[in-house]
Symmetry: C2
Subunit: 220 residues, 2 copies
């Protein structure tokens, strides 16, 4: 029996339906499932501010924060990189392949995600505002540019850095923020890539675990 301590990832005990399967602890759960690393989820209440001491673990009062054997990390990019450094199934060890994967990890979070969450933010939180349609239209042009470049870069490769890596975990969960639209389907290569990732058993286990941790009803 292993005596390795189990890492702890924070997650929410309840979120509205539109957020289920999108909360970012999913990325960490997925990485742990890929390498068979058992972890514990520490469930927080999403409906009120977290206790002040939580800000020392996650300065933006979000999930996930991550603890492994006393080491504290926040930001899914950093946590994915940490797990990747421990297991080459998540991050190749060949120098060029490693830096290609790390480049794509940052690209998912800085060159793609902001253009996608602008669209999903308009759709989810501002759908009733008069200014929203033209603002969304302007943002959609930029988003499509990024998705086109991403599709071209992926080409006929299965994964961004040759082998499957944390870059794919980040990119596929980023793309999923558009699941309420048909935008990803405009890029068949990208849609196939996303489906390929979501078909991995580790993804399915991670998603099931996130969903199983949600209470059905909003806490009073």
């Amino acid at each position: 029996m292993s005596t390795a301590p189990r890492p702890v990832v924070t997650a929410f005990g309840w979120v509205p339906d539109f957020a289920r399967g999108l909360v970012r602890d999913l990325r960490v759960r997925w990485a742990c499932e890929e390498i068979g690393r058992p972890y514990d989820a520490e469930l927080l209440d999403a409906t009120k501010p977290r206790p002040d001491e939580y800000l020392a673990r996650q300065p933006f009062d979000q999930v996930p924060a991550f603890t492994d054997d006393g080491l504290q990390i926040f930001e899914t990019g950093a946590i994915l990189l940490y797990l990747g450094e421990q297991d080459e199934r998540l991050l190749p060890t060949d120098p060029q392949a490693r830096w290609q994967a790390i480049s794509w990890l940052f690209a998912a979070l800085n060159s793609v995600e902001p253009f996608i969450t602008r669209i999903s933010g308009y759709d989810l939180f501002h759908h009733d505002k008069e200014w929203m349609p033209p603002a969304r239209e302007a943002a959609l042009g930029l988003c499509r540019q990024r998705l086109k470049r991403l599709t071209d870069a992926l080409g006929d490769k299965d994964w961004l850095a040759g082998q499957f890596s944390v870059a794919d975990i980040a990119m596929i969960t980023v793309l999923n923020n558009l699941r309420h639209t048909d935008i990803v389907a405009e890029y068949p290569g990208l849609a196939a890539y996303k489906a390929r990732g979501e078909d991995r058993p580790a993804y399915k286990r991670a998603l099931d675990a996130q969903l199983a941790d949600f209470e059905e009803k909003q806490p009073a």
Copy 2:
């Protein structure tokens, strides 16, 4: 005389005034200057699409792309991490301090920058649109939340991860995208932090080098 190869960073040979001092190769130049690592700038034309082969180095057709001794990296976050791994003046070696710095590096690029570039994007590219003021107002609320959390997390520390690190290079250059506004000044601790970074001789040398590389006139 050192025979270490000089890394190459791509940059633009001309950009409009509003972008001078903001183009992201500045981050890489700053990191190189902090550790006294000579580098070469490869200047590209910002006014037309780059040659197709450039996309293999930078899939989003942006700057910077980075090459060191044959190794190719894109995304400023990845390049900063790479340089940090080579010199503890840019990234502490103590494990908790290292992961704190890496967490903040990702935070600058994923939890802060997208909220800032939304504002600067409205101001620079959509200032004449009717829908812009209410859209900007909605985005400003989110941006202020992030800056308040960042200010609180910084507290009375000089730098995000204890010692100066690549996280500060990323965060301070991210904040500078608001230089056309008074928003950062609303948070005196944050404004002082930004000034502290920009007062470093390495920052000044990097900025001078970027500005010196710009042609005065837009290429015909």
